[in-house]
Symmetry: C2
Amino acid sequence: MLYSKTFTKTRKEAPKDEVSKNAKLLIRAGFIDKLSSGVYTYLPLGLRVLRKIETIVRNEMNALGAEELLMPALNPKENWLATGRWESMDDLYKIIDARGKEFALAPTHEEVVVPLVKQFISSYRDLPLSVYQFQSKFRMELRAKSGLLRGREFLMKDLYSFHEDEEDLKRFYKKVEVAYKKIFNTLEIGKETYRTYASGGSFSEYSYEFQTVTEAGEDTIYICSSCDIGINKEIIKNQRECPSCTGEDFKEVRAIEVGNIFELKTKFSDAFDLNFKDKNGKTQKVIMGCYGLGIGRAMGAVVEVMGDKKGVRWPHAIAPFQFHLIEVPSENPDINARAKRLYADLEKAGFEVFYDDRQVSAGIKFSDADLMGIPYILTIGEETVKKGLLVELKNRESGATRGIPESFSPTKWRYPLSM
Amino acid sequence: MLYSKTFTKTRKEAPKDEVSKNAKLLIRAGFIDKLSSGVYTYLPLGLRVLRKIETIVRNEMNALGAEELLMPALNPKENWLATGRWESMDDLYKIIDARGKEFALAPTHEEVVVPLVKQFISSYRDLPLSVYQFQSKFRMELRAKSGLLRGREFLMKDLYSFHEDEEDLKRFYKKVEVAYKKIFNTLEIGKETYRTYASGGSFSEYSYEFQTVTEAGEDTIYICSSCDIGINKEIIKNQRECPSCTGEDFKEVRAIEVGNIFELKTKFSDAFDLNFKDKNGKTQKVIMGCYGLGIGRAMGAVVEVMGDKKGVRWPHAIAPFQFHLIEVPSENPDINARAKRLYADLEKAGFEVFYDDRQVSAGIKFSDADLMGIPYILTIGEETVKKGLLVELKNRESGATRGIPESFSPTKWRYPLSM
């Protein structure tokens, strides 16, 4: 993509009312725009990142055997009355239409998915099954100051699983846990993301949250020094021992919940009478699990963890582009010809390249590249030619630079590069 | 995909309150589920179709040079007050939060996109620019009886373009018209879809709707016998001549609006003071166009036009799968082995195959295949083996059948097949 052809521009300053690091950097770099507190537009560069995170998560969900569908945001009041959450959920947006019909704007989809699958489940032969979606959710947050970490409208992956018995739920639950770890590793926040004991509600002793440690986090968690697992505030209040290893030494840190996995058991099957006939012809309640992962929130968490004072830094797997090519403006037409050729060769070799072809100073281009955070910055200018190089390469993370000789053409490059 | 692994099932009957052909067939075939009037879940098979339509439209938008972004549904009241539409739009869903802050649930995005691009446009050098999105929109329909043709929540592609002058707008407008025709041709509703004169609002004489002729349509349009263009009811009321060729002979038909292209000119630039400095340094108003295309609605229109009494029929480009493979249950284990091998070979050759591997009667499998509407139905059973064939092929549209010899392996097949 040519910088000159994208309509967004970087900015020196973020809006004054924006306090979170992720939103400040992402707005300055031209990835998102703030419409209202907790409500953001994804600009072309930001949407590329969002879609890449989505694809990573989708591949893991498919590998679990889950089927993708898409449920509506507009939910009839009756479904939410059936579970009692119409009254009990304080942060539920409610709408009333001109005829007096009421709807909830869904913050989660148990109220839709349970009556849906009920139409297709009658026997143990129909189980297990699992479905997921990527869908815009709504939550009436009174304070929304954390950028993408806590939005009023936000893109989530929500997965729901249905089982014959608790053993089968536990097997699947464990697989989702492994898939989540893989996802957070791919997003390069695996080291900072702790599986964290949380309350299991009325049906299980514990559920798990995936908490990414960052100063910007709105939660406080306690990391066990012995076994490296997290425990949330609610749990630590009631017990001073690690539920995993009985250790008693904890480190208190700030963190943001990027995912959760929850054994719902029969909570929603009871509400909607979701039953099946078992092998003996006996009617049983379906056992459920649910598993959330915030796509926009994960993007925000990556920026909180990896961003530095120069700007955003993207992991290889979700960077909007793999290379940021800077042409240092020059009177010498050979420079432009070389940059264009390299751009074409890189694209031909299958790489994604953001090519800064603008007629602005090298200084502006370099600081924009640092702000935007694409992993490798390539530069072509007079100096490159004088040195007899094809291009100069800089690693955005380490700052390390290297000259690439003319003979090392893009068809030979292996991504990520070894530097 | 294996039929036995997907959780949806076909149904004999659609819900009693469902009157539209598209919703009845799509629900019976297991493509969508009705949550509430005008509010549907896309089930795995339906989501495949929806995403394919999205991809076709996306490719055309990118070819126009438009950039994809994603704007929020939750819109602050102030933006809608600025254009007067907070009061004037009867079908706008409004929400009030616990603190008394009001939002609209956006049915269209001029109120967001204009203030957004205003931040990036200052000079004629920043123009033209065009942006688009695929986004769930909301409209407070009091009656919503047409299935996917008119929803309360619906997926739309909306494109907005920004220009220096009306000539440039007209140039782009013409290109979008061509792109739309190409899209409707790919969806195989090109012949039934008429460019139709509609009111241009307060700023242009005319705008264009793309109307697909179908009995289920909620609009009445008039097709000019001389030049084959459509004219909508509003226009024909005031003039009895075709605006294109001055013909006076029309055919009255029912139709559904699947797209529209509209010269907004300065309507929204005025409201948000969207200006630019021209080549002479003079401040001018930006000239705008907007271009909608309903993704779910197009899916519904395809079903209305192409569906027959047996079920849905999908165009090649958007069918959820290319082949529907039926294994006729048999005591002979060779049948199962052959079906499995063909399934593997087809997938290896890059085809998308829906394999009905269930232990149910051939009759059920054949009628399910007709209901689901995948373009080619492949059958393997005792008869196939006796005839010495690899597989028997049926064209869902024409009903024509053909035996495929053992020697004609899937690597040699070219899609669509010549039959």
